[in-house]
Symmetry: C2
Subunit: 396 residues, 2 copies
């Protein structure tokens, strides 16, 4: 359930004044990818702690700023995934298991902080989202009694969405669920109209709450003794990493892969940063790349044919533990999506999860250059499998 | 393009004070099906010309009321299809061919006039739609510069809609296109909120404008000498009828079929009225039943399996002239929908169009009882084929 919006430092456990959260497994400034560095600079400008790149870098190098993965604080962020203390975040609650997760506002397309852009336009939009958009949408969520994101996803998967890069239907369902209350919550009609327009024109408007919902589902299955199910899969633009339910909070990492992508006009693979972002929490929860059989239109965005989309889903049944009880695909006669990546099956079948994802420019300040499919690196799963064997005494 | 909303008697050609338009080919009061009679009574109550059934029937029997098919006045209506002089109607313009078409407001589900219900609740809702909803939505359409329904349908067909009974995505696209302007056009926030809620909760909110859009497409191809393409296909609950482009304004009719349906709880085939409504204009234009391969989730509403949905579309290629240039189905690798029913192929292949449709109770005053698939009766196509052969000199 999406229950509201709050300020990161007020609601995220362990968040503090000098902490920045980022996507993927832990990473230092020195090893950070270009787009994540850009987003860090943008976040420090947004917080009023820096004026520009040099300022920000000096501050970071002074040791005054700490970094931690979103995943260490019950949060998730798309692409660079930056969450700074003043940012407003969606609050999603798993009412069955009692845990919560958090994710920032979605900025729309093009030059955006999450893709590493940090121009004045980007920062101005962030402030509008924080100061105007978030309070109204928070009030609308509360007036509506909360929004059931599992039902929303269930419907969206019957409307051609995969739940990760294709969220057109889910974003419209989000809009229609909240718009009568947004009108009541807004200070005036012009603000209401602006907010409805911003949501309606953003085909990924609901990505962040969806990711937080997936995080609450995955966290509910974390730390189960003996479980070989993956509960987090995330990339920081430098490394890809997973966590496994029965192996606690350890990360198993490998260098981030290059995405096989369709590039926007004017860009090529030379411009692409390797795989980045926490949005693979969707695949971890059984949607996204795993549900593409129900979302054939996505191939227009990421490449390939409708058959490839079906094949990806069918392959993922080979490496997962269950078929989802709520998320289903009409095109496969309402078969549940492949859910619960099992590291034992990944190693046995020699097949890693396939993920669809956006691609950021490798240099800071530019933004998205394409979208495509990426195959997770095998060595992270092999390492996890060896650790699992050791932990549970199958080491020989 | 949806260009606005106006009062039927002001905008529909030939509409006058004592005329009621109805779905399907011509029909007299004596031969009218129950739900259409119920809708006539409701329309006369709505117009202030009757208090109830007896009143209305006496007025009709006095000869003071004339009936004509919607199709004779560039209009279309779902189910009973009643349009009375004071009703507000959507105005859709084919800007390539210069013709217009009209369709009433959509009332939502359950007990509604178009299904033959005429209780006080139904009439009150009709007045609210006419007096509150329509002026605001008209203003919103005009403020937005008109709404391109072809683009809207193109997108919706990539979001699991068939364009006839499944219009969830299209209705949400309609909402998001207009909602910023609805907020500006509404007299106050409460009215805006009510209108957004009514549209957002009605999965068929956009059915009537979509039908009018299909009518403008079909009419653009009407009256082409030598053409054997069907330009209207409609049912009045008693008879099914078609018109053919090269055969002018003649109707070729046959008794309306019984729908093979999934019934709502408490109802069975015994309760069902035969096939009724102008909504088959969607199949005439190449969507609806013809586009079901892209809308497998519809089988949860109308019965059958995902494969049946694909098979229906593939079959329809056998009896159509072209693949649509704009309407495509991602699941068939973006193949265009089968478009332009050719009476020569229907007769040659001995296969009539398949249509998905709602089912009304056979008695007036009750409403919808289910939804399903119906196969058009062959004899109407055979009669049209014989007339075509005669008209164009192939009679032997």
């Amino acid at each position: 359930m999406l229950v509201g919006i709050g300020r990161a430092q007020d609601v995220i456990p362990g968040m503090h004044d000098n902490l920045l959260l980022h996507a993927g497994p832990p990473v230092t400034w020195a090893r950070m990818a270009g787009p994540m560095k850009g987003a860090v600079v943008g976040a420090l400008i947004f917080e009023g702690k820096a004026q520009g790149w040099d300022d920000a870098e000096a501050l970071v190098n002074s040791g005054a700023i700490q970094f931690a993965p979103c995943h260490h604080h019950a949060a998730v962020g798309p692409m660079a995934g930056l969450i700074s203390p003043s940012m407003m975040v969606y609050i999603v609650e798993n009412q069955t298991h009692g845990n919560r997760a958090y994710s920032g506002m979605n900025e729309g397309r093009g030059r955006v902080l999450r893709m590493g852009a940090y121009s004045e336009e980007v920062i101005t939009r962030m402030h509008w989202l924080n100061d105007v958009f978030a309070p109204v949408v928070d009030e609308a969520i509360r007036l509506s009694g909360g929004l059931d994101l599992r039902i929303l996803l269930t419907q969206a998967l019957h409307m051609g969405d995969d739940g990760h890069n294709r969220l057109q239907a889910a974003s419209l369902l989000f809009l229609k669920s909240l718009d009568p209350m947004i009108v009541k919550a807004a200070p005036n009609c012009d603000v209401a109209s602006d907010i409805l327009k911003i949501i309606g024109e953003n085909a990924l408007a609901v990505l962040n709450p969806v990711m937080a919902a997936c995080k609450t589902m995955a966290d509910a299955g974390h730390n189960i003794a003996g479980s070989s199910i993956v509960t987090a899969m995330a990339r920081n633009g430098t490394e890809f990493g997973i966590r496994v339910s029965g192996l606690g909070d350890r990360w198993f990492t490998a260098p981030a892969s290059v995405v096989k992508a369709l590039y926007f006009p004017g860009f090529t693979e030379q411009d692409a940063n390797p795989d980045i972002g926490d949005s693979t929490i969707t695949e971890t929860a059984g949607i996204g790349g795993f549900a593409m059989a129900g979302a054939p239109a996505i191939v227009a965005f990421i490449g390939g044919s409708a058959k490839d989309a079906v094949r990806t889903t069918l392959d993922m049944y080979e490496i997962t533990f269950a078929e989802h009880r709520y998320f289903s695909m009409p095109a496969l006669d309402f078969r549940g999506t492949p859910t619960g990546i099992d590291i034992r099956k990944v190693v046995e079948k020699s097949m890693t999860p396939r993920v669809n994802t956006g691609v950021a420019h490798k240099d800071p300040g530019i933004g998205q250059v394409g979208a495509g499919i990426v195959v997770a690196p095998m060595s992270a799963f092999e390492d996890a499998f060896m650790a699992y064997a050791e932990e549970y005494g199958f080491a020989d």
